[in-house]
Symmetry: C2
Subunit: 360 residues, 2 copies
């Protein structure tokens, strides 16, 4: 039985997705060679044009590695997956472009979430400190509001390469703040290929499946530009869901997510209170076994517990009814708290550096 | 009889315009004190909130002076009026922001007019050289694509302050390139008031009456910004019409406009071939007099012949039938050619400086 709770029931959906949108599955060869839990555990589920990036990795040639965070709040474990993937590609020899998207966070979000550019920059400091603590260096990242003129010029240039009706078809409605945010995101993804930066070369960005229309729009714009850009490649991963039943990780519902800034105590409380696949009674669970495939705690483990053996042990003991949820949650609390303590120490040390990255 | 051919018949229209849009007439006091032909001759016809700028001029306090050119071609005499007004305010002690709008020219125009940002920059060099020859210094102007980050950040910020429906109501339809162009134009008009530039103070921009919706949108955005900006003031002037009957000055119909880059010979040919208010025969004209109020050559004089006495002489001799069109056109050719020769010499000397302004 697979450790990935979605692997069996989801095949049909994915076949549809692959066919309908032209996405590709990862070949076993690629998944095996990309030795990271995100690939091994099927969290990365599909790609668009990844082969050209893979070829560069195999040949030890550079490629561009892009992701970003629209800094409207603290990082949570859902964001951490983006960064884990980014760091993985960094280690593969990429040219790194991690965007702290303070402007786009401001223009695309309502005032009650991000009320000013200054707000956005304050969040950016916090995000940068997290990224530094997780292993990025200042030269791997940039803050949108600190970019050089060429970046902005390029972002505005892109507006001529996408029509109003395409935009409306993709994003449902037109909102000028969202137009700005999207132009900046296209620029985030493509500017590294301009001659003023790395020059034309394959690039990779990890996104959620729901963001594929955005990826296609970006590639469409790339085709229309006069710069002979390589079409940006994308890989798609599942979003980690929230800790409560049926929830998404959301900053506005703090119980759904563990934030990198949560105290170990607060994080433990969230884990202990999360939705599991446990049965109504201990007896029943011992008899029938638990259900990791619907357990939010197990999902957290799947995304973040690095040790494959420990993960298998959690999975198997649960299925066999050998370990009840309370005890199982304790195990997760342990490694999460250990991570948070260590991370927050590193983050604290990096706060001044982060301020410098944002405010110069 | 007024030297301004529109002064009598247009009063009713303007009363409507003033009432409908909330524009104000220039008081005699202000028109008299602003000693420039554009005011004396009624070419500047209305304003929105000019008093606060006038007060600054009277007190010899600084104010911000803004105009720009969307550089998609050579300057013609119609553009020169914008610059004449700008130079007038410069002499009144303004802080000067003359925008060479290369990015907005590119994003808002079809590819057959401006096919790349590089195209746009080439036009910009030409425009900058003209502006330098006319009396601006590099520090009075900027090229959009050379602006510092704060300018672009501000332009994107503005997108959050104007709704889609307002934008559509003003501009008729949404085109993403036009959205970009407008954001950049709002930024052109307002960024000088940010603390990183002059700080909050009255500002003045001269525009055509048809651009008033744009002015109102800019003021509306200014009100919503968190920077306590002074509402931008505007003055409205008539557009100089084209040299052919019923035409506008247009780069795509070169006979309608005299370009600052036209050779004296080419300019003379355009003037000699322009539409006048002459009668069918010389006899008739001697008897009835000419009609400066419909004469395109007289309009050129009204906008560009600096000497009031000479203008009056042209007007009066025409009305009295004392001078026929051919001879009258010669007079205009003379001062226009003299201006062009002198201007083009100065422009040539400024080409290297202009290249430096654009390409650094």
């Amino acid at each position: 039985m697979s450790l990935n709770p979605w692997s069996s029931d989801a095949v049909t959906d994915y076949d549809y997705v692959f066919k309908e949108f032209g996405l590709s599955k990862f070949s076993e060869k690629i998944s095996k060679e990309l030795d990271h839990l995100l690939f091994r555990r099927g969290i990365v589920i599909a790609h668009r044009d990844f082969q050209r990036v893979f070829d560069r990795i195999a040949l030890k040639k550079p490629f561009i590695n892009i992701t970003g965070i629209a800094s409207s709040g603290h990082y949570h474990f859902g964001h951490k997956v983006d960064l884990d993937l980014f760091i993985f590609f960094k280690k593969c020899g990429a040219r790194n472009y991690f965007s702290i998207s303070d402007i786009d966070a401001y223009t695309s979000r309502p005032d009650d979430k991000v009320s000013s550019l200054d707000d956005s920059k304050q969040f950016a400091v916090d995000n940068v400190a997290d990224a530094l603590a997780l292993g990025l260096s200042p030269k791997d990242m940039y803050v949108q509001s600190n970019k050089e003129t060429r970046f902005y010029e390029f972002a505005f240039e892109l507006s001529k390469k996408i029509t109003h009706s395409t935009f409306k078809a993709i994003y449902g409605h037109i909102d000028l703040g969202k137009v700005s945010a999207n132009l900046l995101q296209y620029a985030d993804i493509m500017h590294g290929q301009l001659k003023e930066y790395e020059g034309s070369m394959p690039s990779i960005t990890g996104i959620g499946l729901d963001q594929d229309p955005h990826a296609r729009a970006t590639r469409d714009v790339a085709r229309r530009l006069p710069y002979n850009l390589e079409l940006p490649s994308f890989i798609y991963f599942r979003h980690q869901s929230g800790l409560q039943e049926g929830s998404k990780m959301s900053a506005s519902q703090p119980n759904t997510a563990i934030f990198l800034s949560d105290s170990p105590k607060a994080a433990s409380k969230k884990i202990m209170g999360c939705f599991t696949g446990g049965r109504e009674t201990a007896e029943k669970q011992k008899k029938l076994g638990g259900r990791p495939e619907i357990c939010k705690k197990y999902e957290l483990d799947l995304f973040h517990l690095e040790d494959d053996k420990k993960l298998k042990d959690i999975h198997d003991k649960c299925k066999a009814g050998e370990r009840l949820c309370g005890q199982c949650k304790q195990l997760t609390c342990e490694y999460v708290c250990k991570f948070l303590e260590s991370h927050q120490k590193k983050k604290k040390k990096n706060m001044k550096k982060a301020e410098k990255v944002v405010f110069g």
